[in-house]
Symmetry: D2
Amino acid sequence: MSTTRSMMAAHPDGEPSLGQALTACIEAAFSCAQASDACADACMAEETIVELRKCIRLSLDCADLCMTTGRFLSRLNEVDGNLLKTILMACRDFCTTTAIEYEKHADMYAYCRIAAEACRRCEQACQDLLPRPF
Amino acid sequence: MSTTRSMMAAHPDGEPSLGQALTACIEAAFSCAQASDACADACMAEETIVELRKCIRLSLDCADLCMTTGRFLSRLNEVDGNLLKTILMACRDFCTTTAIEYEKHADMYAYCRIAAEACRRCEQACQDLLPRPF
Amino acid sequence: MSTTRSMMAAHPDGEPSLGQALTACIEAAFSCAQASDACADACMAEETIVELRKCIRLSLDCADLCMTTGRFLSRLNEVDGNLLKTILMACRDFCTTTAIEYEKHADMYAYCRIAAEACRRCEQACQDLLPRPF
Amino acid sequence: MSTTRSMMAAHPDGEPSLGQALTACIEAAFSCAQASDACADACMAEETIVELRKCIRLSLDCADLCMTTGRFLSRLNEVDGNLLKTILMACRDFCTTTAIEYEKHADMYAYCRIAAEACRRCEQACQDLLPRPF
């Protein structure tokens, strides 16, 4: 069991039935944040950096919002259903847009392909969590 | 002229006509983030902390998202209009919900009143920036 | 291979010999950040919240700094050896202090025990990375 | 009186004698974070982006750590003197290194000059707060 799974299960307000989808989304969000930060930095090391500007910019935005989403989902006190929905949809949309950009460069740069996969997993995890009642 | 205003004006992609509304929103977002973090901490120092749980939780969420919004708006390269709209609306909604909670405690705690004002300013600044073309 | 490991290995400036220690530290930092945020929130759900104030406060600080450290380490361009040392030592010290506080409550609250373990792993990962040349 | 000053003064643990130096440091940290994020983005819009890689990388690090420092200083509960010192020194050192890099480009790019000034103010504010007892 991952540390995140153990933490969420041990929380006094932890809801076992919700646990796995929630943990999956937290882990996907932090994984996507890390991949996005690393992708921005990897792009900056390329000769072709000028063509990768959009990629870098979206990476930074995506990393920031995924981290904020991961932190939000780590809190189980007094969950506001509307704000939960708002942030899940926003995070999903940032991941979609960023993944589309990464996929354009995926054949050229392995890290863009790996980061695209991380974005797609986070997009899906947000989508899966959306209909869940908190 | 504030440092933020000077920075945004000196940016190669800086758009003078947009400048003031954008700067106002960045400054309102960081000010609201700081007030929210300080409000969470001030609530934790009260005897009545148990009744302030919702206030603390919303403060942390609001601080995180306002900071992410302030960073997003500080980037002028390759702005994606849909993501801009998404984050402005999300930030506005977080500020509204947090302000409503703060306002319940505003008579009792001066810092809740001040933080509510910071949230309302950020909510308004996001709203004002929404119809602007980037 | 984890997404973080794949990303760091695919980076144009990736250094194979450094890879594992670096990946371990990035993953430990994000894991500790998540556990710390969740621990702060879990403490807020307890009746004994008043006695857990120090725990909550340190959790928030530790989460913020571990996330900043994870982001810093995800960048391989133009690494400044002094800043690397500075942030690794700061992160290690925050983790040590937070772990000591968590360990006081570890018998009572399972999440404090789990979060303490996450802090100790991050503390150790920072320490292990300190003597490495970048 | 700024919102930050009002918030810190209204905090139950607010220490009037400390207030101004603390508020100055929080405001300098967030101002430097914003300027650094904007500087990274402005550099990315230049034709000379390849020569600005170090500038961009340091900007991102500096922004992250200044924000973490601003959040840390916004908390007055259970201040740990050693961690306060650690983060003030780390933030000061990040600002010094980033300012030195910005100053190399200050004649060429107005935003590098403005961001350098923001770094120097934050460096000084951290230094001024270091000897204060909490």
